[in-house]
């Protein structure tokens, strides 16, 4: 591996313009806001990447939030209550 080092840094494929266009197209389907931007792909490439990062972070935050809500739900329902039965049937 070590003798590939010098080759690696110069030949590691960088994102080409085509790939950015491809990514923008795909992200447009996922993130509706991006569709409104100007078509200049080089300029908006960094914006697309930034939006993607933000979107991923937000999704992760939402998962944390949902996990917490569920954990609290399980805490607050009594063992034998009808609510507990509902939750257990949904989840377990």
């Amino acid at each position: 591996m070590s003798n590939r080092r010098s080759r690696q840094s110069s030949s590691a494929p960088r994102i080409s313009d085509d790939q950015i266009i491809d990514l923008v197209t795909k992200l447009r389907q996922i993130l509706p806001e991006i569709g409104q931007r100007r078509r200049s792909d080089k300029v908006s490439a960094s914006k697309v990447l930034q939006e993607t990062c933000n979107y991923i972070r937000n999704l992760n935050k939402e998962v944390d939030n949902l996990s917490e809500r569920l954990a609290q739900l399980l805490e607050s329902v009594g063992e034998d209550s009808p609510e507990a039965a509902v939750i257990r049937s949904l989840l377990m």
């Binding site: 389907q29 998962v63 949902l66 569920l70 739900l73 989840l91």
Partner: protein, 180 residues
């Protein structure tokens, strides 16, 4: 690409299975421990949808295994669990110090026109944002290939959407069901 209903179904099944494993513990633990259990099961469920075919899913499984080895093994039993957990991730491909040093040398030699400067700045910004992406995608630090990084990112996003989608439906339904 969108989360398909078969993805959502499979996620739900696997997540339920993970929660079942925790079932005996759930009644006797704190909220924060429960939250962690719920999240870990959800992550393993999401990652296992890919059956080891993507870098991010393998990295996520490995990461979860360091937090709860038992859970991961249980959830993945039957899908070559051992290989996924023990599989060695490739060494970091890009040795940053060396790249930085060689870039410094190159910079001193070249003199640039204004247009080249602008292009270089744009390129620099894209690289910076790409690096940001590496920080949020599991296993990103091992993807020196930008093309791979983009592919993995797109797949990871669709999987996250599946995860959020299903979890949201369940939690909303459970909260509605427990309203007095």
């Amino acid at each position: 690409m969108q989360p398909t209903s078969s993805m959502k179904e499979e996620f739900l099944q696997k997540w339920q299975m993970g929660l079942q494993i925790y079932r005996p513990l759930i009644d006797n633990t704190s909220v924060s421990e429960r939250m962690k259990a719920i999240k870990l099961s959800a992550d393993v469920a999401m990652a296992s949808l890919r059956r080891g075919t993507t870098c991010w899913s393998r990295a996520l499984i490995q990461k979860t295994a360091t937090e709860d080895n038992f859970l991961v093994r249980q959830m993945l039993s039957g899908i070559k669990a051992e290989t996924l957990i023990n599989k060695k991730l490739p060494k970091v491909m890009c040795h940053r110090k060396i790249v930085r040093r060689s870039k410094k040398i190159l910079r001193r030699r070249k003199s640039r026109s204004a247009i080249e400067e602008v292009a270089a700045k744009a390129r620099k910004l894209v690289n910076k944002k790409t690096q940001g992406l590496r920080n949020v995608v599991p296993g990103g630090e091992f993807m020196s290939n930008d093309v791979l990084l983009i592919q993995e990112t797109l797949d990871y996003i669709v999987s996250l959407q599946t995860q959020v989608n299903v979890m949201r439906s369940i939690v909303d339904a459970a909260e509605a069901g427990s309203e007095r």
